[in-house]
């Protein structure tokens, strides 16, 4: 197993037949005079799972918000499915560290909320069947009438996955989705996430603080430096799929973890 290191600036390997879903070209962000992001160039192809890892305040979340169309970039282009991103898009599903379920809605109502907001309550009613299937998929069958206050942290996060998937997004933007969970729940959720993304051939972009998590899930791990945020290196993880928990103790896995840790250490970030 070889570690394939490609500098981002040099672009993706030529001749990849998969179509690019997300293209970020020289995306920067400044807040006043403070540079939050130096030019970022990332291409995500269909089915890609990419992770960004970096110290707090390196602009990871800013990058994600720019990709999601929640915050405009200061310069550069963000292109999704051939269309520039100039605001929230239907093709995007998002998830955060907090489940952010609304406590006055049942689990089911929470899951169909994106449909209800975009297409109205009638459409949301119709989507309930899909929502029930999703609940079953993540092992929450029977909890559709429960209120979020009755769910554990892990269950709430699984409901949030359902809410993200209900609109059948092409790309998933994940901002530390499981970092508030305990270790056991987190491992389980990462397996779930892998299963879901590969079953749907979804393109995913994950922000995380956990090197093993990044290696476990990703095809490419982007290592970022802090202040100003800059992608230092793109580490291609060519471990076979599907990945299992057992692989995490294999030397190849450890080599990737060490490689990324040393990149982060070199910057003196950790």
């Amino acid at each position: 197993m070889t570690t394939n290191l490609a500098m981002v600036a040099e672009g993706e390997p030529a001749g990849d037949p998969r179509r690019p879903v997300y293209e970020l070209v020289d995306v920067t962000k400044k807040y006043g005079h403070v540079v939050a992001l130096e030019p970022v160039n990332v291409t995500l192809r269909e089915g890609d799972f990419a992770a960004v890892i970096g110290p707090s305040g390196c602009g990871k979340s800013t990058l994600l918000k720019i990709m999601a169309g929640l915050v405009p970039p200061s310069s550069g282009a963000v292109v999704l499915e051939g269309q520039p991103v100039k605001g929230p898009r239907r093709e995007i599903g998002m998830m955060f560290q907090q489940a952010t379920l609304f406590p006055w809605c049942t689990t089911l109502e929470n899951i169909v909320l994106p449909i209800s907001i975009r297409d109205g309550r009638a459409a949301a009613k119709k989507a309930e069947k899909d929502a029930l299937e999703l609940l079953e998929l993540v092992g929450l069958k029977g909890f559709e009438k429960a209120y979020p206050g009755q769910l554990s942290g892990g269950m709430a996060q699984r409901a949030a996955i359902c809410r993200m998937l209900i609109t059948e997004p092409d790309v998933l933007l994940l901002d530390e989705p499981f970092s508030a969970l305990d270790e056991l729940a987190r491992d389980f959720m990462n397996l779930e996430l892998q299963r879901i993304t590969s079953a749907r051939n979804a393109t995913a972009f994950l922000i995380t603080h956990s090197i093993p998590e990044a290696v476990f899930l990703s095809d490419t791990v982007y290592v970022m430096s802090a202040r100003p945020g800059r992608i230092v290196e793109a580490v291609t993880i060519d471990l076979p799929r599907p990945r299992t928990m057992e692989m995490m103790v294999e030397p190849a896995f450890g080599a990737f973890v060490n490689r990324i840790r040393s990149l982060l250490d070199k910057g003196g970030f950790l």
Binding site: A68, L70, M94, Q97, F102, W104, I117, G149
Partner: protein
């Protein structure tokens, strides 16, 4: 060896230490059952009152005996329940309070949303509201009387005026209660401003809003009665004022008791609506809030 220790340990421990169960100590005052505590306090208060009355330190004109007062409570109660003139007065005050409360809610929610949702409201309107809020609002009563006359409308106006501010403040604060993730999520779902307001910010802010409504429910009573004291009319405040001016102290007490029923019903209506709408919030789940 290990197995033996494990299987023997409990019995050995039991043998060696006979008294192993212990209980947490609870102070005497915390152990009194609620019913007994409440009745005890009430009886204690009446006894103290009677003692002060018997001591002769206070003129009976100022402080009647508990018995006299009790008899008058019964008298007023009979008048009220037989549909006497006091009931008419009670309805007048009830009307002022309810209309005042509805107006306060209408203005309070509107201004609260303006202040909490728009930066125009927050930057241009809020400073004026804060300035007015710091004024003693009862001092506006003569103005309302001059503008609206001595009828019911001046009382409604003062009641509404006093009750509006807590609603404005709590609504504006409630709209700021939603966290960044919730805002981001709604933005990402492509929600319009109205959708975000009505389906996320207002529900999130309801616990705050109800806190304001409870303060307003108390304020609206104070406003109506104050205006009646100052501007006459046909309400309960007028009955109290007349009774007090005639040194009918027991009557003042009993009128206040029945008046407090009105406030109590209004307050509890708010609390019950809150429990229904905000069933998901810890304050209503545990019953910490709500004047219990």
């Amino acid at each position: 060896m290990t197995d033996q220790t494990l299987s023997e340990a409990p019995s050995v421990a039991r043998k060696r230490y006979e008294d192993t169960v212990w209980t947490e100590e609870v102070a005497f005052i915390d152990r009194i059952p609620r019913g007994i505590a409440m009745v005890g306090l009430f009886v204690g208060f009446i006894v103290l009152w009677q003692l002060v009355y018997l001591s002769g330190l206070v003129s009976p004109l100022i402080l009647p005996s508990p018995l006299e007062t009790g008899a008058d409570i019964v008298f007023v109660g009979k008048n009220l329940f037989s549909g006497g003139y006091m009931l008419t007065a009670f309805f007048v005050t009830t009307q002022e309070v309810l209309v005042g409360f509805v107006i306060a809610m209408a203005i309070g929610f509107s201004l609260g949303i303006l202040v909490g949702e728009t930066s125009f409201g927050e930057r241009a309107v809020l400073p004026y509201l804060v300035a007015i809020d710091t004024m003693p609002k009862v001092a506006f009563a003569p103005l309302f009387l001059a503008w609206l006359g001595f009828g019911i409308s001046s009382k409604v106006a003062l009641a509404a005026f006093i009750a509006t501010f807590p609603i404005v403040v709590s609504t504006a604060a409630g709209l700021h209660a939603a966290d960044d993730n919730a805002r981001m999520l709604f933005k990402a779902m492509g929600a319009t401003r109205w959708q975000t307001l009505f389906r996320m910010k207002i529900p999130t802010g309801l616990p705050h809003i109800f806190t304001g409504l409870k303060i307003a429910a108390v304020g609206v009573m104070a406003g109506a009665i104050t205006a009646e004291f100052l501007g006459g009319g046909k309400g309960f405040g007028e009955l109290i004022r007349v009774a007090a001016s005639q040194l009918q102290t027991p009557r003042v007490f009993s009128l206040i008791i029945y008046l407090s029923l009105l406030g109590f019903v209004l307050f509890w209506t708010v609390v019950l609506v809150e429990r229904r709408l905000v069933f998901w919030h810890r304050s209503t789940i545990s019953g910490v809030d709500g004047g219990r």
